[in-house]
């Protein structure tokens, strides 16, 4: 005698195929990318209250013209040499020992004609309106690289770690809070040794 069944069961065998199809679609369209780039702070619009007098020797001028040529400290410079020049300038530590500006950790030439102390040293970047953006980024990259090289050196000396790695760990939201608190101080300490002072003048039109 035929047994009464309820509704016949739907064959679920093709479910996997359908799911796979969707899965492959999403796999292909997914881009798990995090953008990366050079972080910069723009100067605020309001000028500072009092005019700060900066000694000429503490300023490292970089000029980019519209052909992408580089003038560093009034000398035509190849882009590849910019980093070494910037490091030499920042790390100079020209102030005599005993003066308040004396830089105890600098390893530069201590040329009194160049920057007194890394915390006083300023890099001034000026570019033309027709400078290609690629060149500008390369210059920015080299200058940031100069700072990073010096900061890495000091971080290695003080903490036996690279500054860039410490900073990346600090900025990574997956790092546990306790580790980040500890890193924050160290990162700040290194940043204070070599503060990034990169001034960007308004562009020239000629």
């Amino acid at each position: 005698m035929p047994r009464r069944k309820g509704a016949p069961e739907v064959n679920a065998g093709s479910m996997a195929d359908i799911a796979f199809l969707l899965l492959i679609f999403f796999l292909v369209t997914t881009t798990i990318e995090t953008d990366a780039g050079l972080d910069r702070m723009l100067p605020p619009m309001e000028p500072p209250d009092e005019d700060v007098v900066i000694k000429q020797k503490n300023i490292f001028t970089v000029n980019i013209n519209k052909n992408g040529q580089l003038l560093a400290e009034e000398e035509l410079t190849d882009l590849k040499d910019l980093r070494t020049k910037a490091i030499a300038f920042l790390d100079n530590g020209g102030a005599a020992s005993g003066t308040p500006d004396y830089c105890s950790f600098c390893k530069g030439k201590r040329n009194p004609e160049s920057s007194d102390n890394p915390s006083k040293a300023i890099i001034s970047l000026k570019n033309d309106r027709e400078t290609p953006y690629g060149t500008y980024i390369t210059v920015q990259n080299e200058l940031v690289g100069a700072y990073n090289d010096l900061r890495n050196r000091e971080a290695q000396r003080l903490f036996r770690r690279d500054f860039t790695e410490m900073e990346a760990a600090f900025l990574n939201p997956e790092t546990p809070q306790s580790v980040r608190d500890e890193l924050k101080e160290k990162v700040q300490q290194i940043k204070d040794l070599f503060p990034q002072k990169l001034s960007e003048a308004e562009t020239s039109t000629n």
Binding site: A12, M15, A16, A19, F20, L22, L23, F26, L27, T29, T30, T31, I32, T34, D35, A36, G37, L38, D39, R40, M41, L42, P43, P44, M45, I64, G68, L79, K80, N127, D128, R129, E130, T131, P132, Y133, G134, T135, Y136, I137, T138, Q140, N141, E142, V144, G145, N148, T164, E167, A168, L171, N172, P173, E200, E202, T203
Partner: protein, 160 residues
């Protein structure tokens, strides 16, 4: 009763694939949730320059994007070949940047409004003039944190 005696004892049972759809669905849901569909189609050429000293931009909700570059070929007839700014889906003037930033900032949650970063996605063949103008506009609305978005790579390749 012979039904129950078909199988020999010791035979390995076939692996059940009944849970396969579940597993696949699990993966599917994972990818569905992490997928971010591109929200604006690019109307400008956007080959970013390379840089080696990059920092990662975490937390997408704190970023306002600006695109700059030559209009792509289909738009060149109308907009010419001079570098243009793209905000959301539209071409815009330098003077619109400020209000766009303010508008985007107002959309974000209160506690994020002070920590926003402006990501400048600029084609490497653009000129600095337009970038300087944008920077001036950003300073006017006090959006001082900028990120020049780049690819990770050798910076000297930009010069070719």
């Amino acid at each position: 009763m012979s039904k129950f005696n078909k199988k020999k004892d010791g035979d390995l049972p076939a692996v059940s694939t009944a849970s396969l759809p579940d597993i696949v669905f699990m993966l599917l849901f994972f990818f569905m949730t992490v997928t971010v569909m591109k929200d604006s189609t690019l109307k400008v050429e956007n080959t970013l320059p390379n840089a080696s000293e990059v920092k990662k931009l975490e937390k997408k909700d704190r970023i306002i994007y600006l695109y700059v570059g030559k209009p792509t070929r289909e738009y060149q007839k109308v907009f010419g070949t001079e570098s243009k700014i793209q905000l959301n889906d539209k071409f815009a003037d330098v003077s619109d940047v400020g209000s766009y930033i303010l508008q985007e900032r107002a959309k974000k949650a209160q506690e994020l409004q002070n920590v926003l970063t402006t990501a400048l996605k600029v084609d490497k063949n653009a000129n600095m003039g337009i970038i300087s103008d944008i920077k001036q506009e950003l300073r006017k609305v006090n959006a001082l944190k900028v990120n020049y978005t780049t690819y990770e790579g050798d910076a000297f390749r930009n010069l070719q």
